[in-house]
């Protein structure tokens, strides 16, 4: 059999994914559609840190210790890495049900609830499960046509169901869910520390220099200091507060979504069945627990419709062993493991102490 090498563009699965996400770097990067506030975050972090390294650090490294810019650089790099990791990774999106599966679930629902007469509103689709001796309700998602796993929620901004949905954060330009919550937490933690660090050393710089040339002269010489102090001051209140709030959530193994809806509080509500009852254990599980890979398979290749040969790809493994069902439109070709966002992360050099505000999304 002769193989024609046809130079055709390969269609990857991310190009056909439903939902309102944007993808970059050929599917390696996944974000929400609105990225404006994320760029602002980057600009503020980079801008403030650039000013700090350019002006204050030079003076302080000489006058006090060269360790000052070193620590600042480490904090800056860590917070940038975690920010990019939070923004660019799949938060734990649950792919929508394929038609066969959706039909199967519909049948099950009808069998349980009975047929609904025309014109009448169907009853809400809820399944009850018992988890650790507590009854937990699973809701049916009409968009994704699945019963949402416990703790999952549908983000209306991204139009996806996300596992362990925390909130949609416009400051990082992505949802925060099971797969990127730890990066988000480490980002706000390191950003808090960085903000406090920059703020403190700005004050030290102004104090030291004022002793030599006076307060007004100092400000005239490095006007950036005023800007940095202002930004840090306002950021401190929001980011540090947010870090405290999320530390509380992590200790109790709760999500922002659950906290806001009051899922586990109140007299007649069930207790949180996911908490281990031990703060250390909860923290360890949320921050250091096993990290499931993305199930979206963004970089998998969709099969070509034409009869021509497919350009050889290293990403398909044993695809010939999986027969394609003639009746369905599924694509069973790529059997590769879903890639994590192990994308080459660009590290732009900005630093904005940003107050990430949360927009919890009401689930459908």
């Amino acid at each position: 059999m002769s193989v024609m090498v046809v130079r055709k563009k390969v269609t990857r699965k991310w190009e056909k994914l439903p939902g309102r996400n944007t993808f970059c770097c050929d599917g390696r990067v996944m974000m929400a559609r609105q990225k404006g506030i994320f760029y602002l975050t980057l600009f503020l972090i980079l801008g403030t840190c650039t000013l700090f390294f350019a002006f204050e650090c030079r003076y302080l490294a000489v006058q006090l210790s060269p360790a000052i810019p070193v620590f600042a650089a480490m904090l800056f790099l860590f917070s940038m890495a975690t920010l990019l990791r939070t923004s660019f990774s799949d938060p734990g999106v649950i792919p929508r049900a394929l038609p066969d599966e959706a039909a199967f679930i519909e049948m099950e629902i009808e069998a349980t609830n009975g047929a609904v007469p025309q014109g009448q509103r169907p009853p809400p689709r809820i399944k009850n499960f018992q988890i650790n001796n507590q009854i937990v309700k699973l809701k049916y998602c009409y968009t994704c046509k699945i019963f949402r796993p416990p703790r999952a929620s549908h983000c209306s901004i991204c139009d996806n169901c996300v596992e362990r949905f925390d909130h949609h954060c416009p400051w990082v330009g992505n949802c925060v869910g099971k797969r990127n919550y730890r990066y988000f937490y480490l980002f706000i933690l390191s950003l808090s520390l960085l903000t406090i660090y920059v703020f403190a050393f700005n004050i030290v710089y102004v104090a030291l220099k004022s002793l030599k040339i006076g307060f007004l002269e100092t400000l005239k010489e490095t006007p950036g200091t005023v800007l940095e102090v202002l930004i840090c001051f306002f950021t401190l209140w929001s980011v540090v507060g947010l870090t405290g709030f999320h530390t509380f959530l992590v200790a109790l193994n709760q999500t922002t979504n659950e906290d806001i809806k009051g899922s586990w509080t109140g007299k007649n509500r069930v207790q949180n069945p996911y908490s281990h009852g031990n703060i250390v254990k909860n923290c360890c599980e949320v921050l250091c627990g096993p990290l499931p890979p993305s199930v979206l398979d963004r970089r998998g290749i969709l099969p070509l419709e034409e009869n021509g040969s497919r350009p050889p790809s290293t990403q398909e493994t044993s695809s010939s062993l999986l027969p394609q069902s003639p009746a369905s439109t599924e694509h069973l070709n790529s059997n590769e493991m879903p890639e994590d966002s192990s994308a080459p992360e660009e590290m732009p050099p900005p630093e904005p102490p940003e107050p990430p505000q949360e927009t919890p999304e009401a689930e459908k």
Partner: protein, 167 residues
């Protein structure tokens, strides 16, 4: 191996898809990935209950191993954090390694157990870890791959119609 691949391809050519069964997740232990071991009635005439349950239990065991919270997973998490997660650019996580094992296991089970019975298991990872999809094929020709029953009771339902009555 070549003959087993040949068998699966033969299955595709000679059989038509009768219906699909979806094994749902079992959330009774929390959010960890486990599948229900309840035997679906559609598979009654196609495979022994014990074989099916063994497959699902093995898969559940694999997933439990992947999601196990313990010393090694903490170490991996802490090491990754210390390297600002750059280490994941070079290595695979423990979870990914177990998923590869699961994929190999499912392939093996398909070749040895399910395909000879006209069934095909789909890796749950391809369905978003929501379901284990089992496709039930019906032999079109008698010289097809060895299937225990050539035309089963579910032959009356066409693909997509589902087996409402069969349930």
């Amino acid at each position: 191996m070549a003959t087993e691949v040949h068998n699966l391809q033969e299955l595709r050519r000679s059989a038509s898809l009768a219906t699909k069964v979806f094994i749902q997740r079992d959330y009774s232990d929390g959010t960890i990935c486990q599948f229900q071991t309840k035997f679906p009635p559609e598979l009654d005439s196609r495979i022994e209950r014990q074989l099916f349950e063994e497959t699902v239990k093995t898969l559940n065991g694999f997933y439990a191993e992947a999601e196990k919270i313990g010393g090694s997973s903490y170490l991996e998490g802490c090491l990754a954090c210390a390297t600002a997660y750059f280490i994941f650019l070079c290595t695979e996580t423990h979870y990914e390694k177990v998923l590869k094992k699961i994929s190999r296991y499912i392939q093996e089970q398909n070749e040895k157990v399910f395909a000879p019975r006209g069934l095909l298991l789909t890796d749950p990872v391809e369905r978003g870890m929501r379901v284990i999809e089992i496709a039930i094929y019906e032999d079109r020709c008698s010289s097809g791959s060895s299937s225990s029953g050539s035309s089963s009771g579910s032959g009356s339902s066409s693909a997509g119609g589902g087996g409402a009555g069969a349930r």
